[in-house]
Subunit: 338 residues, 6 copies
């Protein structure tokens, strides 16, 4: 069991019921989410001491988001209140050949406009063994980019290990014309674990990877990443092949500096219930595996099972225990458990 601090934006997700178009009927289901919060909840469910750092508005929406993390065992005592609004996103769940659509409504959020000087990272990271960040945070603007870099920098100084999930979102970067490669290099350059595929590395290093075999292509990208970032130990990602909106195939890959490249899967994910948060579930699963000193292939199998499991659950959070993930990883049968 480890102590992990996650830094990122808490969001409210407002989802059209069933497979309806957004506001086809005038009702919305609400879930709490956010890439890093999803990781925190997963890790808490796996038995770790997960703690969230962030900013929410001082209103019922911010309070509800904090409360929901508390409900799942995440320490929210370091989520402070600030000016600005609650970050929202609206989700419409697709089906068959009609893709799901996200409508973001996070501009001007308390998290986005918070002064980076407001985070006292020495205090916030005290006691943590890991800091988890994602590429969504710096993509939100100058201020969050500065805060993310400050967090990673202080983590390195304090000997806190850093996990970074690429999560490249070009739309967000374009809005404020942020220098994504430079900023992401600052973050990847401080991480021991990076969740990224070849596209992320292309963005960060400005290099193309043209291998036709998808695993070889990630190997090449990982090789480049290990060269560029000497502190980096592990690069991992999933491979997703969507056959339709409801039916994907997933596999996973973990690369080590020594050239080791472990694969897991592929698993058939048919009848997807809710795809959001699959990548975060994978990240949390792998962190858990590595923290627990599983062999790389066991950790990767666990992480992939966690990711697949998320697709079976409504909402952003992967509300399962480590034992449940293990049981899925071991394919312990698909009939009712009584």
């Amino acid at each position: 069991m480890a102590t992990i601090t996650c830094f990122g934006e808490l969001l409210l997700r407002l989802t059209a019921p069933g497979r309806e178009r957004l506001l086809q009927t005038l009702a919305l289901d609400v879930h709490v989410g956010g890439a890093e919060a999803n990781v925190a909840v997963s890790l808490s469910r796996f038995g770790h001491q997960a703690s969230m750092v962030g900013v929410v508005p001082d209103n019922p929406l911010g309070a509800a988001a904090r409360a929901e993390l508390s409900r799942h065992g995440v320490d929210v005592s370091r989520v402070r209140s600030g000016d600005g609004r609650m970050g929202l996103y609206f989700l419409e769940q697709g089906a068959i050949l009609r893709p799901s659509e996200v409508t973001y409504d996070r501009a001007g959020s308390a998290f986005a406009i918070a002064d980076p000087a407001g985070y006292d990272w020495g205090t916030l990271l005290a006691g943590a063994q890991w800091l988890h960040l994602s590429g969504v945070t710096p993509a939100l603007g100058e201020r969050t980019a500065q805060a993310a870099i400050a967090a990673a920098t202080m983590a390195r100084q304090m000997g806190v290990r850093v996990s970074f999930d690429g999560n490249f979102r070009p739309k967000l970067w374009r809005q404020w014309r942020g220098d994504a490669p430079a900023i992401l290099r600052e973050l990847m350059g401080r991480a021991q674990i990076v969740f990224a595929d070849y596209r992320d590395i292309t963005v960060v290093l400005g290099r193309e990877f043209a291998q036709t075999d998808p695993f070889a292509r990630v190997d090449a990208a990982a090789h480049a990443a290990f060269e560029a970032f000497p502190q980096l130990e592990v690069m991992a990602c999933t491979h997703r092949t969507p056959h339709s909106v409801d039916h994907h195939t997933l596999s996973a890959q973990l690369c080590r500096r020594d050239g080791a490249s472990v694969h897991a899967g592929s698993l058939d994910v048919a009848g997807i219930v809710d795809r959001i948060g699959g990548g975060d579930a994978f990240a949390a699963g792998l962190l858990h595996g590595l923290i627990e000193n599983m062999a790389d292939s066991d950790a990767l199998t666990f992480a992939l099972a966690a990711a697949v499991c998320k697709h079976s659950l409504p909402g952003d959070f992967n509300l399962v225990s480590a034992a449940e993930v293990r049981s899925i990883a071991e394919a312990n049968g698909f009939d009712v458990r009584r």
Copy 2:
């Protein structure tokens, strides 16, 4: 963009929630529908000026049906109020091997009993470029059959192009012992576009088509239809292969007088959300394609994508834009759009 008038019955659909049997629990979801109204809503969503002609009772049910069409941009100023009740149908959604079941409750509806003389077609069609009708309307009784023929006749006189969707419903015809072949010939004999497969042509012309290849069979039926109806330009239909209640395969075919026969698909439609309205979505899609002067194969691909899309949406209406259908037709990826 065109101006299209749709003539037909507005219905309220009352659906058992989820996959329950009808009234298994005592709740019903409500949708507005009706073959021609579904086409009107699709066309409005595609950017056309769609207008509905029909009759509803002067009560909250009739008002709700009109309001729902307005919500989707259809002009309902020519839907008048009349004596009689609101046409209803109750729907139970099947699953796996248990088929969906419709329980009609449309006898005595305001639309069915309306005096055909009450429609002043010269005024109702003023400004329209297209009139869309379906075989459901004449199947309802003597009065609606007369009204449909009068509408098509006036459309021809005014140079309004006519689109006719066969939609053959033997149960309805039997109830009043209507002479389906004679009446449908009146309507098909005035249409430029007919949505029909070989079974409809067999009914109308009293000829069998015995080809084993389904596309060849439709070609033969189309040939017969073009011979019988000199004004007819296009005959189109879908081919549906159901593997289970939730999983069909769809393809489509468009025939021209010159013998050209274009095919689209086949597309796998697995995990069907709601199959009702698929044919109407196809008709609207093809009308859009032809109005927009797409090549026949592009128009057919668009129409098939529209039909498939409908299967992913709860309710009778295909609540998508032309851009969304194009994106599905081009298979632009099945992962979440952010």
Copy 3:
């Protein structure tokens, strides 16, 4: 049409909505169930006179369970009230690779603690042609085991035919250290029809069956059962192959004393709506087929169709008529019925 008495516990099932984890949101759907009650409802829906014998608490929960059986035509005049609580179970519906989970909460139920002397079987079975029991009842404790044996014994004396569904639940037996083999032998030794596969027979007779072909293995087990139980006429079971939580393949087998072994299926059950009660639907289907003097293969095909149909319906009950099951058995098409 026959008169059938079912003896067993009525349960309330409390289910998390959709595919949520239990109490992920604080709402529960309620269904009434119980292995023998499920059979009673099916048989009533098939046109038989089904009657329930059991005990429920004298409170709104017991009343609701009785009322729900009445709603489906089952005679509940012999379900009496007694001390103790209502048996409950909580259900979480899995998806993809995450299995469904049952949390039982039936300890101390009115049924479990009822004095076996409280059942006057001569009166309770008067007029019955069949008595249906399952292995769940004796597994609940000494008292219910005694009651089940007394019921079967009196049935034999009165010439009432006995149907017994194995339903072996090791967890329940372990709780009170009941001698499952001895007690189940008492019950199987009085039944004309037993629903059991090789595992049940292994438990009862203490013999392993090592054939690799699953049908041959059941044949061997049936052979042993016919040897051990001279009154036994039929042994039947389903074969279930789960590909994922939502996708199983089902076939079925019926063995006669003369060595006849009839098979049905296999049928693909994809997009499972609710798997609970599938075995009870099979038992009711086969009882119906045999009561109606169908040929064995027709009866088995009917029973398998009934079992598959249950997977398409929310709740424990298979709310379909015999005509609907026949139509599924005959694969009469998967498109909407209008």
Copy 4:
């Protein structure tokens, strides 16, 4: 405990959720109702053997209506299936100063069009001690009027006591220009108990009652009724004073041939949950009281409490036991019962 046969139409009620306008959102709650069915359910809940006679269509709607009565213990074996549709009504619940509105949709119902010769009253009333009818049934048309008179006539011949609830609905009578006074006289002329106020008697006897005191006015009307109908023993009614849509005051009155006039109430009914079925609950309550040989004032107090209780329950049915009504009649406290 008595055996009571109720003859009338089963209806499905479709209600807008909460206090919404009808179809403001596209969902409807469903309840089963009908004036005589409401009485049957109440009496069954009070411990009597209540039986329904009527006709429903042979479709899922008719089946659901029968099932719902069964659920509450009413014998529906004499509700037969027939041609025609299910009678429906749509309800919008008002509030404050906005009245509730009913939209009837019962034209052409299986009950309304059923051949009166189809009822074999000798068989249908065999074993009954009471027949309960209401003025809604003859108001539906010639056929139902004939059936109601035939039922009352046969009841008199067989010595079955007749209870008749006036329920005068001018709108229904006007639709077919039925001779309400003549027909209602036939029915009142065969009843031992009539639920009616002065307005009903005015309609039936063509006499005005001009007393300003409402109780005196009913006394005068009762005097006239007892003169006109020599078999009549009891006339009873409620007095309702609506202060707003949600807040009424209720009292009740029972008149005997000997001039005895008993009063109950008045009770304040504030925060009305659902007013529909209040009169039927009163009728059932009084029938129960008289059958149980309560003193008139006790019976009337019981009936008024039953009527008030109905206002606290969603749906048409008064789902309470006699003990619960007694407790309300005795005002046993308004705090939570634990």
Copy 5:
């Protein structure tokens, strides 16, 4: 019947279900609202040609808001799309002594940030007889204040009559330190009808009104307003006395330049369903009365009845016809209408 243009912001309201705290359970009901949109919907329901002018984002939320107005007959062809987000507000419905709470989330909305030069008022007001504005619009910021003044100015030039509802919101004005008195004077100085009480006039004219009788105080304020604004013809307001969160008493007052002061009410509003939009319903009611040339006291009675009626309906809109309001105004009885 008149043609009325309403200028203001369209909002989505997200409401906690029942009387729950916001996000107590994670679901939200959605309604469309906005002070001026509420007036537009009311007027459309009363039979007028109401048209909305405003700006919404080009996303599913903006589209849903437009569609909902269309559904109620409001012309939305002049609601254009623009940059920025959808204005939202979250509502928690109080009860007993716990007040309802609004959490605004409208900063940065497409309406708030729209360039005032983007409105071509000559075109937008073509054909209108009335322009309706409220004090919410200028309170949103410099840009909307300019737009509102430009609209009123052009209306005066074109001879379009102006209706202005004060709706003073100090919180909004403080946020951008707008000069409320000066800006509101510009608007009141161009209106023929002003909805305002003495507090609004105090803000605008900087004068206190100290009369203890509330009607006299409004008379005094009206006198001052008529002096300050020579074009002003009518000032009207409601008087609200809240006894608890669910129980208010409402009366109303209309003042004319000649000193005439008409009163209506008071009406008891107990069991409030939804208080939001009551003031807008009053404004729409009075506009309707004056447009229809009712006597002042009739118009005021109608307006007050409309306001009270709104309290009985979920959502912001007063979904009633003029006939329904008249019936409430005439207190036509509170029992169910059948």
Copy 6:
């Protein structure tokens, strides 16, 4: 701000929706509750560090109950898992004259059967300033009675102040024939604050209090209690007058050893949303007031406002802040807060 430990059973409440009878429709709303847990949540919401001690089963129900307390900020690290089931209660919400009904289903709960030796009170109370208990816990059985006495005894030893809420439940005591007076004396004899009215003191001391004035009667009971229990400082209670199920009047009283008797209220509580938990809200409110060193009358006014507020909120918990309660206590207006 104080540190308060609450010891008691966590319960799941399963409530019929709206004002339905239990299982009238087959759905249940779920809330977490329990007298002491309700106090803990209130205190946490008021800003205190509340901690729960108890036992729940190791299943999803127990986990959900813990999670829900966490969500509201209560420390659940001392709620351990144990054998047995989750305590449940089913609630039906009455209306008008029909009382709400609780159906308990808590027999055999993990809390009830937990070994009292399993609580290490020295550790469990470490750091606490207050221990809060209620009379429900000892009423559950020998084991919980022992545990409660052990907790109070250790609290006294450690200088932790004890708050005890009488909550006398005769039904529970009768079930195990517990010596209520003796056991309750042990607990009251260790408390500084007791929530009790004259009935509780009668039970405990075996003395009647016959004063007709309700406040005088409580004064007399308090006098007796102060004599019997020398450590007792404060006795407080509410006075509730129910006018109907939905409409109560509440006042409150606080007595000191020196004979001081402070009163608050009375407040009219009309349109009750959910009465459960009102007493617990009062207890939490008074504890808060006294901890914060309010004057007795301010504390009592605060506590009464908290109790009234609870009646406006669905569920057992009083989900309000101290500021919100203060605002209610000060009657800061009942109109919408924007």
